[in-house]
């Protein structure tokens, strides 16, 4: 019976195109919104994802990286040395700071690090690593937004810095990253020898749980958190603001897409009422008629699905081209839920027409 479903669809190409476009645009919108949300996820955890770290050690009560300010007790770094199973200890000074760019105050997330140890930018788009205390590596989107290039100077808290590098994958909707040397950051904050976080990694082959237990014994009055936990805390803090409205928009797009497809299939079904009546009269069963409308709805939704994903990909590329700050990530993990969404649309849209067919009285074929 699939050929009847197909022929019915192709008999009215305008309606077919209209319904496919309806599904495609709502799928595109859904994919794009999800991609935008995934992008925010990627941006929020970018630093911890790209820096080798198993545990984040922070001030007692501070359980975020991007949430607030942390200052560790001065002795922490020394105490942390020599714990069995710990490979690297990266001390960083990190917090939000205000930059003076062309008389404009811009908020950035400052990371003070030691280039010899690590914790700096993981991908340089241009320029080089830091050598001196008066040098800075700036996120490239922030640089572009403010017309800055390598060799330009900017001020942070009345100190002059020269841009020597531009980092990639360090921008986000709330603040872009910039990197200076740790000593420079200490000076800016008027806190010599200060450290905000210690980023620690485990030696391969060591049991992480026992390393963590040793850490806890050695380091008192600080937080020792697996980097996963810190990332999740940052996500909870910063993404939920977006997640709720975005998910709502996704639901609305789904409902609108289903309604459009449903209405088109419903009118198509009603306009063929006499033909379906004939099928019923000559002995077609309700299930056979349902399968006809379901097949029509699914064919439309599957084609619309493919087209919508393509459309979302193109639109995502275009958005990122024009607004580099926005990251649209189309993950293959999202593919299955998207396919389920599209098929759900088709099935949902077939519901009302199927109900209509079940009520159709075959005796009506003899009356007009």
């Amino acid at each position: 019976m699939t050929y009847l479903a197909l022929r019915n669809l192709f008999q009215n190409t305008f309606r077919l195109i209209l319904s496919i476009s309806g599904v495609a645009s709502s799928i595109a919108l859904i994919v794009l919104l999800r991609g935008f949300l995934s992008g925010i996820y990627v941006q929020v955890t970018a630093y911890l994802d790209n820096t080798p770290v198993d545990w984040v050690v922070s001030q007692e009560g501070i359980r975020n990286l991007l949430g607030g300010t942390s200052f560790l007790p001065p002795s922490t770094e020394d105490l942390a040395q020599g714990i069995s199973g710990v490979e690297d200890i990266i001390p960083i000074v990190a917090q939000y700071a205000i930059l003076d760019i062309h008389d404009e105050k811009v908020v950035g997330y400052m990371v003070g690090y030691d280039p010899d140890i690590g914790g700096g930018p993981w991908s340089l788009l241009a320029g080089r690593e830091l050598d001196d205390d008066d040098e800075i590596i700036l996120d490239w989107v922030m640089a572009e937004d403010h017309g800055l290039k390598i060799g330009d100077n900017i001020e942070i808290l009345d100190e002059e810095f020269e841009i020597v590098g531009l980092s990639a994958d360090t921008s986000s909707w709330m603040a872009n990253f910039f990197f200076i040397k740790k000593e420079a950051a200490e000076q800016l904050l008027l806190a010599p020898e200060a450290t905000s976080f210690l980023l620690m990694t485990a030696k391969p082959g060591y049991d992480k749980a026992s390393i963590e237990a040793r850490l806890r014994r050695r380091l008192q009055d600080v937080e020792i958190l697996p980097s996963q936990v810190v990332k999740q805390n940052d996500l909870d803090l910063l993404v939920n603001i977006f997640a709720v409205p975005l998910k709502m928009m996704v639901s609305i797009a789904f409902a609108v897409g289903t309604a459009i497809l449903g209405m088109i299939i419903y009118t198509a079904t009603v306009s063929r009422a006499s033909e379906y009546g004939v099928l019923k009269a000559v002995g077609g069963k309700n299930t056979q008629l349902y399968s006809l409308v379901v097949q029509q709805a699914l064919l439309i939704s599957v084609v619309g699905l493919g087209l919508g994903i393509l459309l979302a990909w193109i639109a995502g590329q275009a958005v990122m081209e024009v607004y580099p700050k926005f990251l649209v990530v189309l993950r293959s993990n999202d593919l299955l839920p998207t396919i389920v969404t599209g098929i759900g649309m088709g099935l949902g849209a077939a519901l009302l027409p199927a109900l209509y067919l079940s009520r159709l009285d075959p005796a009506e074929v003899f009356r007009r």
């Binding site: 009847l4 022929r7 075959p362």
Partner: protein, 280 residues
């Protein structure tokens, strides 16, 4: 029930509505049709022909009485069993042909075979044989809108026959055909039905297909009445009860009957223009 009847109708009544708006469309009708028999049920508009036919076809339940098709008592059946009875035992032919507009001639017929569960390939093969037999071998890939009325009705006949039903039911099958094609199509229906001993019940008020029927019944006010002798008004085509004809005229030794004086005047002004139609 007569052991060899295909269909047996016993004291069937059908009412619509209730109370003061109740209409008794069919009153206490009994009927037996034997295999291979062609029965024509005639009667004026509103006499209950379609209602009776719908009940024979398992599309409508009687208010009272019994309808048996072969061994199966339709009146005892569950709603969900009726589609199968219609599919396996009954072929339908409609006034408007009612072909599926998106399907070719071949697929229109094959689809109904496919409803029984056989493969598309097999159903197309069956359909093709039947369509060729009905002279439509050159029209297999045509969509309905490319077919003439007579061709459409022949496709409908093929569709009605494809599942080898015991009985074919046709409601006003010639109403949308000119008299020549109407008669030819009905002759063809009679021929193919007789070949395989399928019974045919045709409901119509078309006088001109009387000749193909083995038996003609007259339905009026929901009851079978004695057959009145009928003639066709040569001007408007209406059936006229010759005993009560409103107007008559003699022309070249033949008596003609008219529905009203208007038709009679028109006829007398140019008799040959009305008589030629039937003389092909």
């Amino acid at each position: 029930m007569n052991m060899q009847s295909v269909v047996s109708v016993e004291k069937v009544v059908r009412r619509f509505g209730s109370g003061t708006t109740e209409v008794v469309a069919v009153k206490d009708i009994s009927l037996e049709v034997v295999p291979g028999e062609v029965v024509l049920i005639m009667g004026p508009s509103g006499s209950g022909k379609t209602t009776l036919l719908s009940m024979l076809g398992g599309l409508l339940r009687p208010s009272e009485g019994r309808i048996q098709i072969g061994e199966d008592d339709l009146t005892l059946m569950d709603e969900s069993q009726l589609p199968n009875i219609r599919l396996q035992h009954i072929g339908f032919i409609f006034q408007d042909f009612n072909l599926l507009s998106a399907l070719t001639t071949l697929d229109n017929v094959a689809l109904v075979a496919q409803l029984t569960g056989i493969s598309r390939k097999e159903s197309r093969k069956k359909a093709k044989v039947l369509l060729e037999q009905l002279g439509l071998g050159q029209r297999l890939d045509f969509l309905p809108h490319k077919l003439s009325g007579g061709e459409k009705q022949r496709v409908a006949i093929a569709r009605a026959l494809v599942n080898k039903p015991d009985m074919i039911l046709a409601d006003e099958p010639t109403a949308n055909l000119d008299s020549h094609h109407g008669r030819e199509t009905m002759r063809l229906l009679r021929e193919v039905a007789k070949q395989e001993k399928r019974s045919v019940v045709i409901v119509s008020h078309d006088e001109r297909i009387k000749e193909i029927a083995d038996r003609v019944l007259w339905l009026e006010d929901g009851e079978f009445k004695d057959m009145v002798e009928m003639a066709v008004d040569p001007v408007c085509g209406m059936s006229i009860d010759i005993l009560h004809a409103p107007a008559t005229a003699d022309f070249e030794g033949t008596k003609y009957y008219f529905c009203a004086n208007g038709c009679r005047h028109e006829f007398l002004a140019a008799p040959n223009s009305f008589l030629q139609v039937d003389h092909e």
